[in-house]
């Protein structure tokens, strides 16, 4: 009798199913080959490369200012921060001192980028778990940041606002007012996010204790960003290796110890509040001065190796440039946070149900072009 039951439920068999490449909850073209026993996940194997554009190879034949526009297309939700990473690396290599005004504007823009990225993540995470309302709430508020970007940078998603030596153009006269208006608005609206998801019983049941990642594994697998900090891994580049204007603002590094899906969620919600605090401290104190220093028309880095890391919305982005003194880099490597965070998926989704896999993958917050590059 028991054996017949096992046959019917399929408990003694191993199913292998394909999740993706076209699947709403993989947020792009990611293919997961999932081995199941009944409903329990035994193994997850990511197959990537559907949007591989060979960016590192392309970088070898273009100049440094051109690379900036490629990095927009990696993690398109942190486009501004990706640009900043390349610019900071080039400026460090050339030992250029950047005006204070640029540092402050870059920091404000980075934090706005982080907020809008977390808003989109919150919207789609709620949708993954079956709450469609979140999607409308999240995108409604994100639109306001997109408008600020559009006014100042010209682009909404892919901003390309940085260039080596500063910014492409000065901020729009409305920038400060609109940013302050947005912060005021979003402070008021953020409790709604908590009402919709954070305190929701069904949401808690589906995320608490699911996909627990220990501190040792987080460090060994190199999981950074809010996902790593939810496990207690103190890895905020803004704190440990401050760049731009992060050394002059007070903010808290959001750390939790549980490392489950729920705390990865909380980490991002708390980060949005911290980002607003950072903007508050800077928005009224933008120093006067030039918005860029004059650079040579052809930028050549001195021979050597340069590594710059920044904190994107997903974790630590590293740009490693090997230069041989020419106007093109000899080798460029992007250490992209999504690629590294993906490696932990198999470990933490083992022995959970297939529906939990969607929650876990959503809480790690991948951007597929960032994985493939």
């Amino acid at each position: 009798m028991e054996e017949t039951m096992k046959e019917i439920t399929g408990e003694d068999q191993k199913y292998v199913i394909n999740m993706g490449p076209q699947h709403p909850s993989t947020h792009g073209v990611l293919r997961l080959v999932v081995s199941l026993k009944g409903e329990i996940v035994r193994n997850v194997e990511p197959h990537i490369g559907y949007v591989h554009r060979g960016m590192e190879k392309m970088c070898e034949s273009i100049t440094y200012p051109q690379i900036i526009h490629l990095t927009d297309r990696m993690d398109y939700l942190s486009a501004h921060i990706n640009n900043e990473a390349v610019c900071l690396n080039v400026e460090k290599a050339l030992e250029i001192d950047i005006p204070d005004r640029v540092r402050v504007i870059r920091t404000i823009m980075s934090e706005l980028t982080r907020i809008q990225s977390h808003q989109l993540w919150w919207a789609s995470f709620g949708m993954d778990l079956g709450g469609l309302t979140c999607f409308f709430y999240g995108l409604r508020d994100r639109e306001k940041i997109m408008d600020i970007f559009e006014e100042t940078c010209g682009g909404r998603l892919i901003v390309s606002y940085n260039c080596p030596g500063g910014l492409m153009y000065d901020i729009h006269p409305n920038f400060q007012k609109r940013t302050k208006d947005f912060i005021k608005y979003f402070r008021k609206i953020l409790p709604e996010y908590d009402q919709l998801l954070t305190g929701n019983v069904i949401f808690k049941e589906r995320t608490r204790g699911i996909g627990r990642l220990s501190l040792e594994d987080a460090i060994s697998y190199g999981v950074t960003g809010p996902s790593g900090r939810a496990s207690g891994f103190s890895c905020d580049v803004r704190k440990h290796d401050p760049y731009s204007a992060y050394d002059r603002v007070n903010f808290r590094e959001v750390l939790f110890n549980d490392g489950d899906t729920y705390h990865r969620y909380l980490a991002r919600i708390e980060e949005m509040k911290e980002s607003m605090n950072i903007i508050d401290q800077l928005i009224d104190n933008i120093p006067e001065g030039p918005f860029a220093v004059k650079m040579k028309p052809v930028i050549k880095l001195p021979e050597g190796e340069y590594y710059q890391r920044v904190e994107t919305a997903r974790g630590e982005l590293g740009v490693f440039i090997i230069s041989d003194g020419n106007k093109n880099p000899y080798r460029v490597k992007f250490r992209s946070p999504s690629f590294v965070n993906l490696s932990v998926l198999n470990l933490i989704s083992k022995d959970f149900k297939i529906a939990d896999l969607v929650a876990i993958a959503g809480s790690l917050d991948f951007v597929i072009p960032d994985i493939d590059r």
Binding site: I48, H52, G222, E305, Y307, G318, R335, F339, V340
Partner: protein
């Protein structure tokens, strides 16, 4: 422990390492066969505990192929760069460090895919982004008449 002390400490762990003080990081040039043993010591020695491999890059130096490991200690906030090289372009291989730092598993698969460097004892060394018949695009002698325009 400052940079000088760290260099002396590492010299005690492996006397064949060539330590260079670069602008940004301390560089350790390691002979290929010593890589795994040194990596294990760097991670497990409590006084330095380099436990976070944050970047792994494969490089084609023209004559040689090499791999660069950026390693940080989350406890002591220090960074070193490990470098290995091989002149064997036909069958380049190094020991895998995937069981020391688990993040290396994906990074090494990527390096294998794009540069054709094999990693011994890697749990699952297959191509990652590209189809099996594709060449190794990040090598400098890679030719693709269709997609790469050379001036």
């Amino acid at each position: 422990m400052d940079k000088g002390q760290l260099a002396e400490f590492i010299k005690l762990l492996d006397s064949e390492v060539d330590i260079r003080e670069e602008k940004q990081f301390t560089e350790l040039n390691v002979p290929g066969p010593n890589l795994y043993a040194l990596g294990k010591k760097l991670k497990e020695n409590q006084e330095i505990s380099f436990d976070f491999l944050f970047c792994l890059t494969g490089v084609d130096y023209g004559q040689d192929l090499g791999v660069v490991y950026h390693i940080r200690s989350t406890k002591h906030q220090q960074t070193v760069v490990l470098k290995v090289r091989t002149s064997d372009r036909k069958n380049p291989q190094f020991d895998s460090v995937a069981d020391i730092w688990r993040t290396a598993e994906f990074h090494e698969r990527e390096v294998f895919d794009l540069l054709g460097i094999r990693f011994i004892n890697h749990p699952d060394l297959r191509r990652f982004f590209l189809p099996p018949s594709y060449g190794f695009p990040l090598r400098k002698d890679f030719v693709d008449d269709l997609n790469i325009v050379t001036k």
